[in-house]
């Protein structure tokens, strides 16, 4: 026993920041950003917390299924940008939707949503859950150096959610971690302790773009093939690959190396930027709501991120 996806939801802040807007803040241009990342605009929060966005995505996912908050046995949220250290985002969502089940956050950077699905599968396997809410929610805008043109043009805010029920649709998965704090690193605010002597670092995303590109392309190429193999499927069987929306150039480079048609690699990074753990559930929700998925479709989710972590899985769509 594992799970099937009963429904999806997503939310992005109303305020849209275009490349032209950014070109007034840092030395960049629409052409430069679009060519190197594929991004044209992103949603940036003005007055919504990470849990506000997660709540909206959760409500939309519940609406998509008819599942009531009180039916949920567990709420899991993948995030690295909770607005509160405690309570966590999942607890705030529990409070806001009126659920009564346990709730916790899972931190695995941009691979977080796939990691969290894998944790969820364990609860179903142990018979501990019949219905679960799994979220990816991020307000990365609070972790950006808005004077660093290499990162502030890439990352953005948003949330995505899925409601899971008992099923057999989680066909295979692969998680990896590579013990690296050099390629991608986001220091925390150092705090106010008068005793602590290690100087604080700027609490903003640091990233070595070239290293990330190479790691991501190799990881996604290998992970997608491996999870397909594990589930006895070939690249021809895939209806959609939903890659983490980090950079369109990464997605294109992976697609070029595979026998899966490029149009099957779904992307919406043009409109959302990189929303870390929220990017895959937002993309999945778009596909679902656009009626592009049909029962029996095989969907591959593939992510990579800080850690360096990767996660991939194959899900059979049943809705």
């Amino acid at each position: 026993m594992n799970f099937q996806i009963l429904g999806t939801g997503s939310y992005a802040p109303e305020h849209i920041v275009t490349n032209d807007d950014l070109s007034k803040m840092v030395d960049t241009s629409d052409e430069w950003i679009a060519e190197r990342t594929g991004i044209r605009q992103r949603h940036i929060s003005v007055n919504e917390t990470t849990h506000d966005m997660a709540y909206q995505a959760a409500m939309r996912a519940l609406d998509d299924t008819g599942v009531k908050p009180e039916e949920l046995d567990m709420i899991l949220c993948a995030t690295i940008s909770s607005d509160l250290a405690s309570p966590n985002v999942a607890i705030m969502v529990q409070k806001m939707i009126g659920a009564t089940c346990p709730a916790m956050d899972i931190s695995a950077a941009c691979s977080g949503f796939v990691y969290t699905l894998d944790v969820a599968a364990g609860y179903f396997a142990r018979g501990k859950a019949k219905k679960m809410l799994v979220l990816g929610a991020e307000r990365l805008s609070k972790m950006l150096d808005w004077e660093d043109r290499a990162t502030c043009v890439i990352f953005a805010d948003g949330a995505g959610a899925v409601v899971l029920g008992e099923g057999e649709s989680y066909l295979s998965s692969k998680l990896t971690a590579k013990g690296d704090d050099d390629v991608i690193k986001i220091p925390y605010y150092v705090g106010l302790s008068p005793f602590f002597t290690i100087p604080g670092e700027k609490p903003c995303i640091n990233m070595k773009g070239r290293e990330v590109f190479k790691f991501a392309v190799n990881a996604m190429y290998n992970d997608v093939q491996e999870v397909l193999e594990q589930s006895g499927l070939t690249q021809k069987d895939v209806s959609y690959v939903i890659p983490h929306q980090a950079n369109l150039r990464i997605i294109d480079a992976v697609a070029r190396r595979m026998d899966i048609a490029p149009e099957k690699f779904y992307h919406n990074i043009e409109r959302f930027g990189n929303t870390s753990s929220a990017s895959i559930p937002i993309a999945l929700d778009e596909l679902n709501k656009a009626g592009k998925l049909k029962a029996g479709d095989y969907i591959v989710l593939s992510a990579f991120g800080g850690g360096l972590t990767t996660g991939a899985c194959v899900v059979r769509w049943t809705k």
Partner: protein, 73 residues
């Protein structure tokens, strides 16, 4: 051998048709940006069985050929 390989991979990634490549051709002139450059390095690593540092910056084809040649030996 390295020179021919670099030219071949460069042409695949260049946005320009019928590009004439010499040692003096700059990556900028060939329409190669930083991420194209990483892909070129990745393909050279794969086809030549070597490892290359990604943070090196090169102006032109000659500099890349010399850098790669030193790794192949």
């Amino acid at each position: 051998m390295v020179y021919e390989k670099v030219v071949e991979v460069l042409k695949q990634h260049s946005s320009l048709d019928g590009l004439e490549v010499t040692r003096e051709t700059t990556f900028k002139d060939a329409g190669i940006d930083s991420l194209d450059f990483v892909e070129i390095l990745m393909e050279l690593e794969e086809s030549l069985g070597i490892e290359l540092e990604l943070e090196e910056n090169f102006e032109n084809v000659g500099e890349l050929v010399d850098f790669v040649s030193a790794k192949v030996k």
